[in-house]
Symmetry: C2
Subunit: 155 residues, 2 copies
DNA sequence: AACATTTAATACTAAAGAGTACGAAATACG
DNA sequence: CGTATTTCGTACTCTTTAGTATTAAATGTT
């Protein structure tokens, strides 16, 4: 059980990748998928969601691709998560009970809502720009695994 | 995408239910499932995990059932989550990258690890006793839905 | 106009999670 | 001993998520 779905993680990674590029031209999904070591076709579906949500724009044909629709400083982590996974993470409960609230709380209410609010605050105030800056500053990884295809194991 | 699996939520609910009972005798799974409005068979599987993990003890035969193996004050929320869902929630990342750490961080590292640690701390220090006390004090709900079977809808 | 490139859209397959069913084993009780 | 009760263990089905494949639509280049 994870906090974010795979689709959502891929979307965030792709967005950070785009934001970390020097200039914002259209980048082919193929390039992004290759750099992040994600299945091209699967990433295509995820990025379709983000374009439909107005977070990215796409352009078909040669030299086409995708790009951020807005400056990276005005796209929050919460925007991307909300578009792909929905706001469930920020609104639902640790114990997953539907329609929770102060009027009808379960025993873990106080501590969880406090955490949940903090999570939302963090995601809402963390921008793609920040993430991308940190990524290039720290020479930090984005993809799940460094490609190890050079070291083909013997067996 | 949720933080805890359904199985885990059911396990926590059942544990709180047991802990909130005045005395600790064996309670049949059927009773627990009925009170919490959970499928009996499914809950059986979940509670098997908890007995194998040493958190509950079971007894077969008439008047058998399950009970907490330890006093509710020495069972933490983290114990139950760890037994059912594993420690993934506390160790893995928001972005789900495997093998993360200070040596090889992704851009969201700092803020996420801070949150993750807080989650772990909360779960580790919250005991069943506290949850059960709160549950009975506040007359708080445990089950997902109040049973509405009395009001059978016309259509 | 023909062609190559690249996203859009849909459909299909695989894997995991959630839930159901049923028989076996243990135990109390008559 | 026989039977009812209750957990244990396995196997099966259904649903959701993840991943793959294929075709269609758009657009630049020759
Ligand atoms: S802990 Fe609070 S937010 Fe979560 S289900 Fe219970 S009442 Fe709702
Ligand atoms: S945010 Fe930190 S803990 Fe999470 S994957 Fe990145 S490096 Fe690991």
């Amino acid at each position: 059980m994870t906090v974010l779905s795979k689709s959502c993680i891929y979307g965030v990674q792709a967005a950070i990748y785009l934001a970390s590029l020097p200039k914002s031209e259209y980048v082919s999904i193929q390039e992004v998928a290759g750099k992040l070591n994600i299945s091209f076709h699967f990433l295509t579906k995820v990025l379709q969601i983000l374009t439909q949500a107005g977070i990215m724009i796409s352009y078909r044909g040669p030299n086409g691709g995708i790009a951020l629709a807005r400056p990276s400083s005005s796209v929050s982590l919460a925007d991307i998560i909300g578009a792909i996974d929905g706001t469930e993470v920020f609104t639902e409960c640790l114990l997953g009970l539907p329609g929770c609230g102060h009027a009808d709380p379960c025993p873990a209410h106080e501590q969880w809502t406090s955490m949940r609010n903090r999570l939302y605050h963090i995601c809402k105030t963390t921008t793609l720009e920040e993430l991308a800056t940190k990524a290039s500053e720290l020479n930090v990884r984005l993809a799940a695994h460094p490609l190890v295809q050079h070291f083909t194991p013997k067996e």
